[in-house]
Homo-oligomer: 367 residues x 4
């Protein structure tokens, strides 16, 4: 299976299944000279762990990360950084029942169609645990961005009918909300909504918003290497994502040009700024110096505890009830995954873009 | 500028500016043995030409394509196919006025921020004419798909407040509508809406829908090589696109799992099918054999003939009025560009996927 | 540091330093359905282990490989295969002395020049132990090739003045010779030569020959994707390699066309064959069905136990004597590394080449 | 056919057959701000043209290059640079005779084996004319290197038994010799040798040497991205090349470590230098600041005017005599092709390497 390597210069190669020996990632193309320790990665990874709350699977995943290479005396050396999380609490017997049939909304059928068979334990490679590699690599990317003054804020903007209101969201509220919704009033309503759905053995969908602050203008390449195109595609590669929009997004369909154009003006510091940000911080595929605003639609967890109709490998129509441990809502845990993909994309583009101008190249190499 | 090459096996390398000598594309990785002539490409390219209608720029672009290599005695040879369209009717003087300032909603400012200067004539590389290379390559990809029973239907689903209704769209209506809207009632309404906006010297946004019919199950790779992720990212690379969704798309945010899961059943022909298609034909990044349904938000043309505020290269705030020839609506012309990007993406994935199973590889190589 | 990922479809991502926690590789793009176990990898890896003989470093490297992912119930699943060898016997104190100066013939100076500092323990990433990842991945590639009837034979052809004679080399002798030289008479002479050099605290260079048997015709792409170009480049990436030639190699410089052309004839089985094989099994970058013959020049181990002049990080000229454990000859251990790189290259090319012809693609996808 | 795209950041995509409409190349990833005109390219291309001498084919190839995009007001804009040479003097009838059989030493058979058929006119894509795209792109790469103080000198070192002597080669002699041999005494002898072979309707092989002067230390990545590996592989992709060596090359096979190690010393300017250069300017895959020295074995032109035995497409053994116009020696024309491939490789590596160190990245982006 091709498909587990991402990036052109800052490249990550992820591996692992939900019920194999472990999961991990190799980061190739990380610059030398970054102070890095396992705690940096662990802090990031812990944000995707099922929390203490009732909305996450009760299983206790240790998910302790180990850095296997690429760091010497606390600094990245420029060599590949291999990181690994061993699977400790996965019980294969939980899942053996699903070997023979195709769970609705899952990748069971398509894996079989493609490969002829599959590792049926807990979704195997299509499990949400696959994101461990993304997040571990994203922790490094985020650290690189921080050193360049770029900071990413990501949160749950919508769960079912509950949508955070502009003007009522506070970054400091994100971690105060068990659902990572920065409008705490809406967060409470969403908790009620979720509680109801859980009682019905159902799950809920939602929307995540990701804001990249502090971007310099000029990052991204035209045509196929557009920053928005790569952000959208890479974030779309997260399981359960069904839509991505940037800036005004789908609302542009009902807007006119005079409504949607962002006028430029001169900021006090002498820089060019936009009065509005319908563009979402990217024009022609290149960052314009404004915040990059991305919204991501996440489908409700397909694992629900109701009886569902489906078929099995023998081609028989059956009714099934999925057991096991599943989150009725994945958005709060997916927040850091979206953030990681955004960070990975931006870092790669910043590295690719370093050879865009001859004058800067000469300066770099001392000519 | 990196960024003008797309694909892993079926690779396209596009070039050209709106007011340079011409535009074109090199397709590397096209199989040998496909019957191909310039007319195949021209038919496809003509779909992006400004038409006879009042909604497209009045200029007459010849846009005659020439195949420069890779075809011998009417068949592709497996060598790179170079295709070219010479610019014949571009008048640089039309655009010289915009050299000194940054048009709102355009890439003028970001190109300057990235490269230090830009080819200011008609948008240069960020012009809509850049899509000529995409469409010429897409014509070949579409032909390859047709030979495998895969057909793509693309149309304008929404312009401003006018949205085509499910059940009222007919594929045969697409070319009957001057706006390529397959719900002809809505098309007439959209014409009125557009006429009004044109009177106000304004432009309109909209939404394009693309349906891929006849896909076999099993195309796409898990993780970063997901078919939906690549479709979304590649289509997002078209200028003016601000959002992409697949299947139920953003509507999943307010759905529950029991509403959104597609149940499997056995079709009369013995194949596994889904009762609904909220997944949009892709599960876990791999095609499930159902139609792939993609929706694309397109922003209103930023070139409007109203006075707008902006800044110039000297850092002065100014008011400008853009002249020249610009489409008040680009969706009808963008339809074939979306289709081309979908075709390019799927062909590339189908080629990449040929080495997914050892039994099939052995069969292929005769062992 | 970019540079640790190889391949287009069958892609390997290696990691690890000689004195870090371990070394490993992730193989992405391995087909599903190959029977694979750790013993398959271990057998291959053991060929690069220092042997029982006096010509290898006396340290005992366990080098036990673990498969961490991608194999389920004894079969590859198509997901990334992560393999790992933990470092168990590396003693960092052995090497701390070299932190401050630049060993002649080693990469110490260039790593410092590039990265500003380096993991100085035993060469870090430039150590011969880096090849563990290559060989583990190569074991899988070799297994794939075996299933397609392709077999690779690799051996030491030359050590110092001792060159194996055509007509005196037997494949079954390779493992009988402590130096892996298939001409046993020359092997004995080489042992004497080596013994002498060891007494002088010196090391020896040599040449490795690699023969790929059973190749089908038609593998490789023209221009930059030529099979010989990729074999040469990928084998050249092994540390200590200073030259690669294919077929007649450098001897063509003094030949005429009439001497060097291989005439075609019809074999009894109806296939096209060449009377001679000066081409080395590749014409125009594409395999011609004959054996592929590659020769590789390997420089003498730069770690010698004599006093050498060099400089330190402070810019002082000094005299140094390297301690520690080093092989006076690396060719016997490098044999399997060359073989691994050949296997990786050919497998990747065979996978890339599956979409070369439209008729074969249609057959593959059932149209 | 995949395989016609090279590079990671500075990427070239070549196209064209010997007897199609033309040949060309698209350069994607060229920095903005380089002064560039068609004459820059033409001067480079003219070095691969058959000259006035008796050793090149008598046909007069105009080979006038046109820049189609990517240059505006005499400067590169950062957009793809498309360059094209139209075929003007190719006569297809010259070659139609070879459609039905396989010329010894050519790629006719392997193209048929791979693609099922081929463009038989003059070798099609496997013709020496394919190098036009490489050389046109190489001209830009060479210009970039010149602006960073890096200069490449390439010449014919050997033709048949005539080998230029160290100490007798002068760069200024290269263009004085009709064979581009910088040891003029050997050049005269080679002319005699060649004259004799031409009388016998035969062709000659030889060796090219390429020296890259002014390299900074620190260019190249470890493991698979080694500068020597990429130089070797990319130069090996030139048709007729059968071997590549760097520095001491194949002579290392008979050397000891004490003979082959280059001792470091401090130069008067405070830089670290090597007393000798057996390494050929690269240690551990990274440039060491010394000259890079590459030698390339080129096989004798397979097109000779003697009767040769071969087979035809019908599987019959036949005797053939090739007609048409062919160079009895290609080394003098191939010199610039080797140089172009070296330049393309080094530029790409210099761009990739700009993100190797965090301190330099921060400086670049102003943090």
């Amino acid at each position: 299976m091709a498909g587990s390597i991402l990036g052109e210069i800052f490249r990550v190669s992820t591996w692992g299944e939900s019920h194999g020996a472990g999961l991990g990632v190799v980061v190739d193309g990380c610059p030398a000279g970054i102070s890095l320790c396992e705690e940096d990665i662990q802090d990031y990874l812990d944000r995707r762990k099922p929390g203490e709350t009732k909305y996450a699977t009760p299983r206790r995943e240790g998910d302790k990360v180990t850095i296997m290479s690429g760091v010497f005396e606390g600094m990245t050396t420029g060599t590949p950084i291999s990181m690994m999380v061993l699977n400790t609490s996965q019980k294969s017997k939980d899942y053996s029942e699903i070997a023979g049939f195709y769970r609705p909304g899952h990748a069971d059928y398509t894996f079989d169609a493609k490969y002829g068979f599959r590792d049926y334990r807990g979704g195997g490679r299509s499990s949400g645990r696959e994101t461990i590699g993304r997040v571990a690599a994203g922790a490094i990317a985020a650290k690189i961005l921080e050193q360049m003054g770029i900071h990413i804020v990501t949160y749950v903007k919508q769960i079912g009918p509950c949508v955070c209101r502009d003007g009522h969201m506070r970054p400091e509220n994100i971690e105060k909300s068990p659902l990572r919704m920065p409008d705490l009033e809406r967060s409470v309503e969403a908790e009620d909504y979720l509680a109801e759905k859980m009682k019905e053995h159902d799950s809920v969908g939602g929307m995540i918003e990701c804001v990249v602050c502090g971007m310099p203008a000029g990052v991204g390449e035209p045509v196929f290497g557009k920053l928005d195109a790569l952000l959208a595609g890479n974030i779309f590669s997260i399981g359960a994502v069904k839509g991505v929009e940037i800036g005004a997004g789908f609302s542009v369909a009902s807007k006119s040009g005079s409504e949607n154009n962002d006028e430029f003006y001169m900021a006090a510091d002498g820089s060019v700024k936009k009065k509005t940000n319908f563009a979402g911080g990217i024009l022609g595929g290149i960052s314009d110096g404004d915040d990059i605003v991305i919204r991501v639609a996440v489908k409700p967890t397909p694992s629900i505890f109701r009886t569902q109709k489906t078929v099995n490998k023998q081609g028989e129509e059956i009714a099934v009830q999925i057991k096991g441990r599943h989150d009725p809502v994945i958005m709060p845990r997916a927040v850091v995954v979206v953030e990681a993909m955004a960070a990975l994309t931006i870092v790669d583009r910043m590295f690719v873009g370093m050879s865009s101008r001859m004058d800067k190249i000469q300066e770099f190499y001392g000519f």
